[in-house]
Assembly symmetry: D2
């Protein structure tokens, strides 16, 4: 990490970047209101910090040992001169701001009629972003893999429905990119690219998707500690894309005997991550619970824990859904959740400011 | 499980009980408003249900296969004729009712002065029950084990302080029973007997404590699935003591790398347990988080998830505490938590009723 | 699953396949010594089994509910008429046969000199397959990612070294395919394609690599249950590639406090998987332990548990290795391990046959 | 930890002990061949090490920060002058020596006939110690809890059978002490007192059982990390009882989906614990697997990993057993296991010495 002097010139900055790149590393230049900081991306052992420290315009050059630094609060403070959370803005939707946002829609896009009806009802319930799976990652090769897996024509048709539904009901749209080959196509149609939990560790996919320059919803793998989750989100930011929205969706259950939920929702991850990183963090209660009768309670809990929003699966007729039918809620339930969460969020924000820890 | 006819006489009930006991089992007689149900405690394979079914006054006799039945909603519905949650009442304090309750106090009782000052401040902050550890279960034999471990005189003195502090500030008091030998002594002094997470599996302790006839706060072991937790709470109820208050306090963390919390708080356990059992469920955010800067957030989340209350460790000067200093909060923070949680609880209860799942 | 009559003609088989494909599914035709069985790959709910059952030459047609079937012992028994484990043969190396095999080499290929020296010493120690990472999946974007990540020229050069080393020292060679984009290139140079633990859930990568038609070493993700591991290996076999070598390499550690190993090696997975599937299963003690002083003991344990071989990281000077230095062993230690394991394997096989369970 | 000078007198040692006890701590005096070392048991912050260091005969006095020290190799090396593993000797049986030992018997003692028949067959198969449960810890209050739970008379009768069977077939006998109340009674009858996994955290029970002065088999809790396991074994040694035999029996399974085993056997714990502590470590494959068809494989693996022996549940007619029927093996299978393990142990020991790590 190289901290430039407050009055460092553009030329001096450029020179440092050139030096860094000469050694096979990339330079992440963050021009804050306070000062410019250059983060090194790559194997720092290949470069001499003593050498960097004496370059013109450099105030300080030091190695950072933690596996995530470009996404850390410390880094943000360095160039902003203050602790500031990132707000990911897509049209009118601000993710990470005061008001929680709600991403909702069907698990899988099944037909134009299905998608449009759900989109309309999500909007009416107060939803902010429309989601719909087109390439579905499934545990079994013998399950429905989403319309996208049927062929290129089907993928394009489904993506067009999604884009159109977003425009018609005035919501940004989001879908999952499951493999590198799909990134270019999907990025043409949607506003937020989702990287699912199962692909969290897929650094090639992360790099590829990051390069599309669009906001990315990045889900924690169910086998990942928080440190790993943050370290892998660094792969996205290292491509120069800081519009990363983190999402907790449950970790592997521990213990003998019957599982009452599919995964264990780790809500402490919300405040922990907020203390470590400036990136916004959402919660997906649907995949964590795996059963609809827990979605209301866990949604309220997530917002009370401070989450910047929720990602929820919705269907007008849950039992009809081709994927994850047992965890879908109706648009009517979604409305109750959104109304309750908006109230909880206000209550919590008023009081949180009074707590000095 | 033996369901008696609505007009079964006392004599008929008695006869069934005698029959059950003849085979080495115990009978749990629940006289509800609706009808009388006799639960069998022990190895049901030793008795013939065909034989029981033809006894006079018996409507139905059948084996129940799940490992917990006396604490299940199904059982309660049978004799109450409706689904009813249990309220554990200690003086004016109602645990499991509409309003959440707050158990607070020092991790370990250290001196009379310390305890009384904390008690006063807990009361002022809105706390309902005073807690204070006297026999402390510790990971290392080389750590402070609580005043109770220093000797009988010290134990009695500390217990007297606790009882007196409860009376002075008008709160029921609670302390942990760590071993069977301590049960008789402690039961003389306190209103609620706590069985700590580490002793959840200790069935001999459970039986012994249950027999004291006082309300029991029963914590989930960090290695226990929900099914095991409920199965072991059945050991208490099987002694005829239904005043059991369950408590979630975090499960073992999973995953490689740095742990940001001591345990993983499993908040989905709250609504899951409420659907399985009629017993009230609280949450202890202090031991789960192990760090004070997460207590506010996790407390709000627990209440939003529907918990009937919280158990929180409080100290006027956290850094002075001999045990678990890093997770203590101040009485001022406790007040903020209680105020926020009361509001959240109201919000959630209004909306929850509208959700039909 | 469609079981053909013993005397079913090629034409009848073809007709069934056409019928299956009409419904958007793929047909896995297994011509065993006993009879021909056609496995359905894809969403079976889209096809009528009643209809299939009456086609000419069909003995029986039924739906299979478990998430893995093409890799199951039951399936193999159907067409082979007997329970037979699969032997993956690469030149003279037989993986899954009586004798355990040893895959060894450096974690990362660093230079031609390094690779050739290690290859020579691995061969001398008794190793059967040479491994060397070229595209390394790393937790931190700031770590060395392997020569392959430096650019196309470096990747090709490293792959050429690997192929040449294999030829010089007469061992098949293996390297990891980390992303879909690398599959075509790598498949030109190596004999076994490795899919690393972190990519286990990446179904697009699995499909892509499977299509290269070469043997695949498929590692279990550290967050995956055995059922998931087997379900995802079905994604490979569903592409018609049955040369899959499974590999256990440790699951996420559970529990509070210091971790003495990086992962928890789940050796019971070895006999469990052998009972469920006909595919061979190896063990990688290096990544599980993460420390070299446990490799000997865990290697012996893995072979004693019945593993068909080991994958071990070796370096002539462990402390020099750029990646995972702390878990490398020397070729001298490798020799001790191979010698001991060969003896254990013989001992165990003699006695195992006598055990009737 | 206080290290005495080589020529320290008995009087000087005594004086140091008195000083230690004055501050409310206990002193663990280890008189080795090399020198005498005094370990402090209890809260070391209450004592001044500067003061201790200047006492007559003291070479060095320093605080030890790790939670286990009395059981650590470092401690043993201090007074023995060399690294020496502890051998727990009961009659002719040496646990922790060169040859692995085998503890076997029924899960629960059911009758004299059952016990004697199994004892005879265990002996014939090569077993060294007879085990048999009398007080059984069970998940469900509705299951058979062992003869000991039926009443005092039944407990004594069963204990007498056990003692008699041991004498008849010349094996030391072992049974589990589940609660503090049972310790005095059981200690009169058996040679090894077992503390089960579920009671690992029950420090009051540990202290009570330790005081009986007999060898203790101490099982790791399924939710405990290795550090916790060792820290709690320190509670036993702190009572002056160093005859502790550690036992790994599986940790809670992680991951979604079907469990193929009851627990995950953590075999790396064997060499890890051997590096940390001088106490012997055994493995119980029966409770870990929970199914008899894995016992042979996991037994071989445990011995290959270096375990000092096994604890296995045996019944002449497994399906008849009242408890854990599905994990019992027959005496014939036990014989195969013992024979194979003896061979593996020899093979491994010869080679292990050649490995320099």
């Amino acid at each position: 990490m190289i901290i430039m002097k407050k009055d460092a010139t553009e030329e001096e900055i450029k020179h440092v970047v050139t030096e860094v790149e000469k050694h096979g590393l990339k330079a992440d230049v963050s021009r804050g209101e306070f000062r410019t900081v250059i983060g090194l991306v790559g194997d720092e052992s290949k470069i001499s910090f003593t050498h960097l420290a004496v370059l013109s315009g450099v105030k300080e050059a030091r190695m950072v040992e933690i596996p995530y630094k470009l996404i850390s609060r410390e880094y943000s403070e360095l160039f902003e001169g203050r602790d500031e959370s990132r707000i990911v803005q897509i049209g009118d939707v601000r993710i990470g701001g005061e008001s929680p946002i709600f991403i909702a829609g069907p698990c899988a896009v099944e037909s134009k009629q299905q998608l449009f009806r759900i989109a309309e009802e999500v909007k009416a319930a107060g939803g902010n972003v429309l989601r719909g799976g087109i390439f579905k990652p499934r545990s079994s090769v013998h399950s429905f893999q989403g319309l996208g897996s049927l062929g290129n024509d089907e993928a394009i048709e489904a993506l067009e429905w999604l884009r159109e539904a977003g425009r018609r009901f005035d919501m940004p749209v989001m879908t999952e990119v499951r493999g590198e080959m799909q990134a270019d196509l999907i990025a043409e149609y949607v506003d937020i690219l989702q990287i699912g939990a199962r692909n969290m560790y897929d650094q090639d996919l992360l790099g590829k998707v990051a390069q599309k320059g669009k906001p990315i919803l990045f889900k924690r793998h169910f086998g990942a500690g928080i440190e790993e989750f943050l370290s892998f989100s660094e792969y996205i930011v290292a491509e120069g894309n800081k519009d990363v929205i983190l999402c907790e969706r449950g970790i592997v259950p521990v213990g003998k005997g019957k599982s009452y939920t599919r995964y264990t929702l780790d809500l402490a991850a919300v405040p922990v991550i907020q203390k470590e990183s400036y990136l916004p963090i959402l919660v997906d209660p649907s995949h964590a619970a795996g059963r609809r009768d827990l979605i209301f309670d866990m949604s309220c809990a997530a917002i009370a824990a401070g989450a910047s929003g929720l990602a929820i699966e919705v269907h007008y007729n849950p039992s009809e859904a081709k994927v994850d039918a047992q965890q879908m809620i109706t648009p009517q339930e979604l409305k109750q959740i959104i109304d309750t969460c908006m109230e909880i969020s206000k209550t919590v924000q008023i009081h949180r400011k009074k707590v000095k820890v």
